[in-house]
């Protein structure tokens, strides 16, 4: 019953795999991977024997990382809607009232949402074997990589189904899934890196991935599965009697640590007090509503936990990256940027799509509000929450610049860091808003936002890392690929090495920064170009958002 004749599984597979889209997506995916292999394949003039093994290892790692992040990004898109979708289509109660056992439903949902992903992963195997033929990788390494991928798919999928069973809306479930899974994925990649120079470290990683990871994953799977099954067996969220109402006092009882007091600083900054009287004249009502609405209505508890954990994590990171090795200040900034990358889209990607999903858009559109007013309010509200939350992590940076001499001497770098963080906040919110205007559904908007941000912010860093010293490209050319990434911008600021790491008392020279020649005469570092391109880019994106919104919603037939 669990696997054979599982009606949930059959129905989902039928619907998912019936569309030509799934076949096309697979074709595009394999062609893309094939193109990468073709591009890197050593030409005949190069001795396959000499170049091949290096190429193969790079390709192998690129494939692994690419597919790993693909799993982390795509698994939630399929799985997070599996149960909330039933709730939204109002078929959830029918399903629960049927004689199907919760385990059957869970297995059906999980396998159906992961099957396509697994097909994608497996279809890359032949290309991986090609790399194997080049030499330099062991078959066991390939097996290990696929084991990690499958385990990751299972874990991420199950976590997403769990989120799906806990929330009412797919958008909330998807958001929380990403908030949980993306940090996990980054952690997992950091722990399972195989490019250590030290063979003992490599052996340790192999041991970890083969003998420790699988049982741990299985344990996590069972716990999560039991939680979901119990929830399906006695669902507390069926029916709607008064459930939709946010009772702030009740919420606070369950909030772990993060209790918002709207009258106190700094909570006031991102959650202003509720109104007790009518709005003054000339207020933008959308802005006022957005600012004062419950900011955590998007998956309340988890978002709070993510924020809380980030705050706590920032303290040891501050010690490690700012006080012990002040030359690593850029890495602390990268941490702050990652936080914004994860949390920023939460507040902006649903701005417009949610109006549509809640069926309030037509009410809003028949008022006298102009599309510009609506969009501006949405942008400012999202930007404000995400910026304030992100800048809470900056306190540590300020502290370090006040206390540490090496940093204090180069105070201008603080200004640059703050500018990079502020620009990133603006970019995440603007891109989120644009994706929200482009999409019909919040889930699509969220996925689109994360994809765009990963391509702009993270992908260039990865490219830089993999191309460095491998392809004969100058450092300048390489750096010019990374100007869209705030991470590269933060890393590009040269910091003086900490003095407690050096035994000489003479100050050590600050390393030179790579300059990119815009014209033969003008050369700028990556961070300067980053700061130059993003503000106008955001303005352009905002303009595009305005046009899209106007064309699509304000006076169009899109509502029908």
């Amino acid at each position: 019953m669990l696997l054979r004749d599982n009606p949930v599984l059959t129905r989902e597979l039928l619907v998912n795999l019936r569309s030509p889209r799934s076949f096309l997506l697979q074709l595009v995916y394999v062609s893309l991977l094939g193109a990468v292999v073709y591009f890197y394949w050593p030409s005949e003039s190069e001795g396959v024997r000499q170049v091949g093994s290096g190429v193969a290892r790079r390709l192998f790692e690129l494939f692994f990382l690419g597919q790993f992040f693909l799993v982390a990004l795509v698994a939630p898109t399929f799985a997070a809607g599996s149960i909330t979708g039933e709730k939204e289509r109002k078929t959830y109660e029918m399903l629960l009232a049927s004689p199907l056992r919760p385990g059957t439903i869970l297995i059906g949902k999980l396998l159906s949402s992961l099957s396509y992903l697994v097909i994608l992963i497996v279809s890359s195997l032949p290309l991986m074997i090609l790399c194997f033929l080049l030499g330099g990788i062991l078959l066991s390494e390939i097996a290990r990589a696929y084991l990690v991928l499958i385990l990751a798919a299972g874990t991420f999928g199950l976590l997403s189904v769990a989120c799906s069973s806990f929330f009412r809306r797919t958008s909330s479930a998807l958001m929380v899934s990403y908030l949980v899974i993306l940090p996990l994925a980054i952690l997992c990649v950091a722990l399972t890196r195989t490019d250590h120079a030290d063979p003992r470290a490599r052996e340790f990683v192999t041991f970890m991935t083969v003998s420790v990871l699988p049982p741990w994953c299985l344990a996590i799977w069972s716990v999560v599965a039991i939680v979901i099954v119990r929830r399906l067996l006695r669902p507390p969220d069926v029916g709607s009697e008064g459930k939709d109402v946010v009772d702030e006092e009740e919420e606070m009882k369950y909030a772990i640590g993060v209790v918002i007091d709207r009258d106190l600083y700094p909570d006031k900054l991102f959650a202003p007090a509720k109104r007790t009287d009518l709005m003054p004249d000339g207020t933008n009502p959308v802005l006022d509503k957005e600012l004062r609405s419950e900011i955590f209505s998007q998956g309340t508890l988890m978002l709070r936990v993510v924020i809380q954990v980030s705050m706590l994590l920032s303290i040891p990171l501050m010690a490690a990256l700012l006080f012990l090795r002040s030359d690593r200040a850029g890495y602390y900034v990268a941490y702050v940027l990652t936080f914004n990358l994860l949390v920023g889209p939460v507040f902006s990607a649903g701005s417009i799509t949610q109006e549509r999903e809640r069926q309030t858009l037509s009410l809003l559109l028949t008022t006298l509000l102009r599309p510009g007013q609506i969009l501006f309010a949405k942008l400012v509200a999202a930007l404000r929450v995400s910026t304030v939350l992100t800048f809470l992590l900056v306190e540590q940076l300020l502290l370090a610049f006040v206390l540490i001499e090496e940093l204090r001497d180069r105070y201008w770098t603080l200004i640059v860091f703050l500018l990079i963080i502020a620009t990133t906040c603006l970019a995440t919110s603007t891109i989120g808003l644009l994706c929200s205007a482009l999409s019909r559904r919040t889930t699509v908007a969220i996925v689109l936002t994360y994809m765009t941000l990963l391509i702009l912010f993270v992908f260039p860093v990865g490219m830089h890392y993999y191309l460095q010293g491998f392809v004969s490209i100058s450092e300048e050319r390489l750096a010019s690929f990374t100007v869209t990434s705030p991470f590269s911008a933060a890393f590009s600021i040269p910091m003086a090495p900490s003095q407690n790491n050096t035994f000489t008392s003479t100050p050590v020279a600050v390393p030179e920064q790579v300059l990119i020649h815009l014209t033969p005469r003008i050369a700028l570092p990556v961070w300067a170009i980053f700061l130059m391109i993003y503000p106008p880019l955001c303005l352009v994106l905002y303009g595009v958002t305005y046009l899209v919104f106007r064309w699509r919603w304000w006076r169009a037939g899109g509502l029908g």
Binding site: G242, D244, V245, V246, R275, L278, M279, P280, D281, T283, P285, V286, D288, K289, S293, E294, S297, E357, R358, Q359, T360, S362, L363, L364, L365, T366, T367, L368, L369, R555, A556, G557, L559, G560
Partner: protein, 309 residues
């Protein structure tokens, strides 16, 4: 007040509304009737400036729906058939939100929110969260929202759908009250009894085509090639009355039951009056003489062919 001129809306090959034209005068209550999927909501969304027409024009209070949507939005109150409410907002905040969106000044807003709440009997729910309201209450709240800027024209898409019988009656009473306030109302429904009582005119739409429009009596007249007369007479004159009726050239057939005569009649109002005059002058004791009204259901069933459903 409302004018729809050759409105056509196509989605690809599918014609949702085909060359629709009608006019609604000031103070009229126009019932827009049609089966599900006939094109009612499409027309209403067009008038509410939410939909661009494929071709055609619409005017509300003299403003063009296509060229000057902002002016139209100022004069209409629109209630969609399916609408949502914002999370975590109280009833008064919800109304204040829309009042500000309609640019109503602060001092006036305070007064009007109180008035609207009172009119819709929501005063006791003022501080409740909107997403905790029942369906009927939400429907009333949405109507309250459409009234905050005191629009002369109300466009209501299925205002009573999904309500229980009590809430339905209350909604009807409310609409009657609004009609008494002199507002021009366009209200759509597929439940006919809802409209029959208070609509001054109706339009019947099916498969995107307007089949009939005008006052209910007018449509009834248009529809009937023969009208049905019901004549009550005193016992002793029944046979005489039947003879007179049979002799009249407008009368097709006569049936008598007890002391009631039912006659199928073809002719205008003055022919009917002449017939009554003859009966009386011939000494028939006429107790009552009336045309049997055609119910809205009958009108609807006669006009639509039930193709959509």
């Amino acid at each position: 007040m409302i004018e729809v001129i050759n409105f056509t809306k196509r989605y690809g090959d599918f014609v949702a509304v085909d060359d629709l034209s009608f006019t609604i005068g000031k103070g009229e209550v126009f019932g827009f009737i049609g089966p599900n999927g006939a094109g009612k909501s499409t027309t209403i969304r067009f008038l509410a400036t939410l939909l661009r027409p494929t071709s055609g024009q619409g005017r509300v209070a003299g403003h063009s729906v296509v060229d000057d949507p902002m002016a139209v939005r100022r004069v209409i109150g629109f209630m969609p058939d399916d609408f949502g409410v914002y999370d975590g907002m109280k009833v008064w905040e919800f109304l204040d939100f829309f009042a500000v969106a309609y640019e109503i000044p602060f001092n006036y807003r305070k007064k009007i929110i109180g008035e609207v709440l009172e009119l819709l009997d929501l005063t006791h729910k003022r501080d409740d969260y909107v997403n905790g309201l029942s369906k009927g209450m939400k429907q009333r709240l949405c109507l309250a929202k459409t009234l905050v800027h005191d629009p002369p024209v109300l466009i209501l898409d299925e205002p009573a759908s999904g309500l229980d019988p009590r809430a339905r009656l209350e909604m009807k009473a409310l609409l009657n009250e609004l009609r008494g306030m002199g507002k021009t109302i366009l209200v759509s429904s597929h439940i006919l009894s809802e409209l029959a009582d208070f609509c001054t005119s109706i339009g019947i739409i099916e498969r995107g085509k307007l089949l009939a429009a005008g006052s209910i009596q007018e449509i009834q007249r248009q529809l009937r090639s023969h009208r049905v007369l019901r004549v009550h007479v005193l016992d002793e004159s029944i046979s005489r009355a039947a003879t007179i009726l049979r002799d009249d050239q407008g009368v097709r057939s006569v049936e008598s039951f007890d002391h009631t005569l039912t006659a199928e009649f073809e002719g205008q109002d003055d022919d009917m009056a002449r017939l009554l005059g003859r009966l009386i002058s011939e000494g028939v004791g006429v107790q009552s003489f009336a045309e049997e009204p055609l119910s809205l259901e009958e009108v609807f069933m006669m006009i639509t062919k039930g193709i959509v459903n």
